[in-house]
Chain length 305, copies 2
């Protein structure tokens, strides 16, 4: 199966701790990298991941709080020092370019590449990005400021040719791409061989959902139903239920409720408040509701699907 990995670069929240970096993740789909959020230190953690900076072309920023984007000036300046030439695209709610562009132009004598900012609206699910193998759709969330999560959905792959059947019917090579795309095959004698006899279906497309930062928002369930992996913020434990509501964050049990209602395959929780020296309490509260939950951890890699 082709690579579809989640690398966690940071899963803490705004206040620094000795154990966590602020939020940043990298999705590796077939060796193309996509960054989600870029908290301070993201480039250091990126380097630690041993992934290649040059494979990154798109960054998705959930919302304009510092712990989700203060790593951008450093990362972009580093790409510039490395002599990057490819365009870098940054997708975010409105307002990021106005903050970042002056900093980038002041601190980089000249840019060797273009940084292109794209704004998405945060009210309705929107296609933020699409290529041959992937779509990225926003997931409207509810936080103190406009905020979206992201649904990374692999596109359906091509069917797999069944070698023996193709040989048996002596299918010419130039027909194979059409057959992979679903066509039947007509023999020189006019016999129609149905596609299903010549191919096995592609692996089902895989999906990853990232939901942070947000208060408990059950209406996201319809958008993330059945995803292979859900990252959901779980800033607080039940004892800080009121604080979670006040600050528009989610408790671990609420994150697990979302995962259960959406029947996701696995839940990773993160964006941990600095008040927890040990997140076991969050894990316990979540697994009581949704057993297949794991704690996010820096430098951890999950295979999606």
């Amino acid at each position: 199966m082709e690579k579809f990995d989640l690398h966690i670069l940071g899963c803490g929240s705004a206040l620094p701790t000795t154990r966590h970096f602020p939020t940043s993740q990298i999705i590796n789909l077939r060796d193309k990298l996509y960054m989600i959020d870029c908290g301070e230190g993201a480039q250091l953690q990126f380097r630690k991941s041993r992934l290649k900076f040059s494979r990154l072309n798109h960054i998705f920023i959930s919302h304009l709080h510092g712990d989700h984007c203060f790593g951008l000036p450093g990362l972009i300046s580093t790409l510039n020092l490395l002599g990057r030439t490819a365009e870098l695209h940054i997708h975010s709610p409105q307002g990021l370019e106005a903050q970042m562009a002056p900093i980038l132009s002041f601190f980089n004598r000249e840019m060797t590449f273009r940084v292109i900012f794209h704004e998405f609206n945060t009210h309705t699910p929107t296609l933020a990005y699409e290529d041959r193998s992937l779509t990225v759709t926003t997931i409207p969330l509810r936080h103190r400021i406009p905020c979206c999560g992201f649904l990374f959905a692999e596109k359906p792959g091509l069917s797999h040719i069944i070698r023996d059947m193709v040989d048996f019917y002596q299918v010419p090579i130039y027909e194979l791409n059409r057959i992979k795309n679903g066509s039947d095959y007509t023999t020189p004698d006019g016999e129609i061989i149905p596609n299903a006899r010549l191919t096995r279906p592609a692996a089902p497309p895989r999906r990853y959902a990232y939901c942070s930062d947000t208060c408990y928002k059950p209406d996201i369930v319809k958008q993330i139903r059945g995803v292979d992996l859900l990252f959901h913020e779980a800033t607080f434990a039940d004892d800080a239920h009121a604080r979670a509501r006040e600050t528009f964050h989610t408790t671990a049990s609420q994150a697990a409720e979302i995962a259960r209602a959406a029947q996701v395959k696995q839940l990773v929780i993160g964006h941990f408040s600095a008040r927890y020296d040990d997140e076991t309490i969050l894990l316990n509260e979540a697994t009581a509701i949704f057993p297949n939950t794991v704690l996010g951890r820096e430098n951890q890699c999950f295979s999606i699907g």
Copy 2:
């Protein structure tokens, strides 16, 4: 002896590596903290040092390159989240406020404290800061943009009272402060007891010099002569001598030449280029010239003097 420590938060240079943070240090003089440079991740390393954020009131920025100041927005936002009320002073070459103020006001809904920017000229040694126990003077350096190092000089302490002599002459308590400050004592009979008989001199004041980033600049020697501890950048080894000159950086041997000429007590080298997986080559080249050299290392603490 009262505390005068150097904590190294980061001693890498601009490109991230798996082993170094970009430049930042903290001076702890009698539990008052002074930060020198504030590269990305400084607040994370600060937290790791277990020093108290609330003890920091002054930050000195050597020059406006990102690897020396991209940690400021995160650190300041964190101090704000913590509800700080005391003013924070940032001393730097011209231009920092124009870059930082818009970011701070956008990313912090309201500030609970004032950030006050002070600019120093980078051409002549200038008193940047002074309090009861310390002066901080700029050390003009030569880099691609205006840049200064900093000389932290403890002020001479008060003399120590010799208890036995004070008892012998029945010196009244209210005279003691004057005597600590150097006065002689006149007995009720009019006899003058010279200060030197009543006191032992204070420990000699200690000094720390920070010199980064700069090309080899021997004329700083006169300003840092005899310091207890010198931090000097040593971005490159001898094999990259030309590269050092081009980029206005120093080699390890050149840093050691400075240390030797200035007869400093100890040299710490840092601001290591990402090209070195292991800085032993830099250490070897430096110790060949100035034996009492050590490699900077993250989370390391040096006692000064």
